[in-house]
Symmetry: C2
Subunit: 383 residues, 2 copies
Amino acid sequence: MRILILGGDGYLGWPTAMHFAARGHEVTVMDNYLRRRMALEKDSEPLVPLVPMPERVRRFEAETGKRIRAVVGDCCDHEHLLQVVRDSAPEVIVHYAEQPSGPYSMSDYRSARLTLENNLGATFNVIWAVMEAAPDCHIVKLGTMGEYGTPNIDIEEGWIDVTHKGRTQKFLYPRQAGSLYHTTKVLDTDLLWFYVRMHGLQVTDLMQGPVYGLSTEETDLHEELATSFSYDDIFGTVVNRFVVQAVAGVPLTVYGKGGQTRGYLHIRDTLQCIELAANSPPGKGQLRILNQFTEPFSVNQLAERVKTVGDRMGLKVQVQPVENPRKEAEDHYYNPAHSGLLELGLQPHYLTDEVMASMLEQVLRHRDAIDRRKILPRVRWSS
Amino acid sequence: MRILILGGDGYLGWPTAMHFAARGHEVTVMDNYLRRRMALEKDSEPLVPLVPMPERVRRFEAETGKRIRAVVGDCCDHEHLLQVVRDSAPEVIVHYAEQPSGPYSMSDYRSARLTLENNLGATFNVIWAVMEAAPDCHIVKLGTMGEYGTPNIDIEEGWIDVTHKGRTQKFLYPRQAGSLYHTTKVLDTDLLWFYVRMHGLQVTDLMQGPVYGLSTEETDLHEELATSFSYDDIFGTVVNRFVVQAVAGVPLTVYGKGGQTRGYLHIRDTLQCIELAANSPPGKGQLRILNQFTEPFSVNQLAERVKTVGDRMGLKVQVQPVENPRKEAEDHYYNPAHSGLLELGLQPHYLTDEVMASMLEQVLRHRDAIDRRKILPRVRWSS
């Protein structure tokens, strides 16, 4: 399969690129290093320093004999993206090329504007590049479970039949997100759905929950193949942040009551899900939406898990609720469907004590690199 | 009342500005002439040539003794908009500053990109300027009935209670629009609703149907106060286009079967609705959505109306269905609620034979200025 991975330098993009290349696919990655620049600006550098893309690619070839083609470029640059699509003639585009942080998107005008323009601009250009140069290509887009928010009814997989005054209509499931970043993903889905209807694109929109973990088959081959692992309040997802706090001896920062519940998944399952989606395209004119997570947890449950396993390893983990910097329900109904990917063949890796212990062990090896100043919330939703 | 009208040079913006100024309000208009530039680029100039904003304003003052402050500027320029909001300290912002044409937004990459960036960028900057400089200001935003599309259930006013598996949640009414332009308005509503929830803005989002007419109390004072009246396939709305075709002796171009039904209103009722909304703000933290039209018609019904009245005036009107350049349902259920503005006090001007005759008479006075080459559809939804 010829695969183009946009945002292929990121936390998930780089492991995805290696995953497909290791399995014999023809992989091109495109990335403009936006994520690295933002981390630098916000003093949010990842735990393990990253080597540049060309070095990663050379190291990967040295370890596996497989090549990945890397292009430094901005998906918001229509001409450049179009050229890359023409050159790589992808059968599948995996689109990760977005500013991925809720707190970043809520920090000030500049960051909010960048999030809106980058995310919508990239998605828009992907749509047009496909219409212009690869009309049969399957777009696999990373959405987020955060698009749905926390409604008081069951969350379905993307669509819902609404019966109203005796008549029925199928709609995109109504969404209301909790940050501007998550809102840009709502807008992405609206845009994709519009062009699917008008121009017969084929799209899979994966509503992914928060991802944890730093280890995949390929990242483990060499430390230069490590992925970008963030643990700060802006780019770090909650499980990764808690693991680093436990190792650093900093109390786990539960925001507010801690009843906030989301569906989580291991980074290895992200790779599995992308592969399953890529292997079974939905067909032209279809927008397929799949909810991509393996098990739900509340923040309190996660803190307890980290504490239990950490204490067993002698870390003496403390949990310290802090004032919630976000505006969100801290106690709510949450029952999202997620059968689509299981039906495609997903074999989940659950968050067992062994998985938790192995994350803690990996982070322990980098204990000295942890910067404690990055851990407490710096961005508030309302000023 | 201190009112800032964004897009105050347009078909509706300029009459709105005069309407409020004539009634003693303190009016500032801001416009970057985007609409005029697009008309020039697309060979879509309006029926009556427009004088520049400063001349319009001087003429208006000469006729009425009332001043309108006009600023040439781009709402996508955050610093400029913020300065104008600081200087004018508005209690109400009326936001028309968007690329308003479906066909324009569907014509090519460049036009589509401009529509997305301009419309989202302007709305985003309005939100931020209000948060930063006028947090109590009431934003009156022009949305479109086109946001809803043509679902097979009743269209409510912005919100719907969805009962699903025994539980109920109130959602924004799910929307799916028929052009990229209309889709940007869907995205606008999503953005506004996000910032209303997060920052307690107060917003009225007016879902307006297609507007017809070229005459208001103030435009009639002097020909230099005329509004931008388009009759071409790109910027002309259907009633205005049909009226011009009837006068020019060109058959009325019904797209496809002509069963496409929408809710229409006279330009005088647009002014009335804006004033009613401005006079009764919804309160902080509220997104009020009102469906702004007075009566529904199918395209065939409109063609018939124009023909009946035109024939009576000796115009020998012909109707000629043409292949539909758009992708839309040509025969569909349509039952949208529109009681909110009536409850606020709207006194509708319906499309009577007298109103139709007076439009035809006005256009007859400019018969020689009609360019027949602009009337047939030039933009197709699918290539």
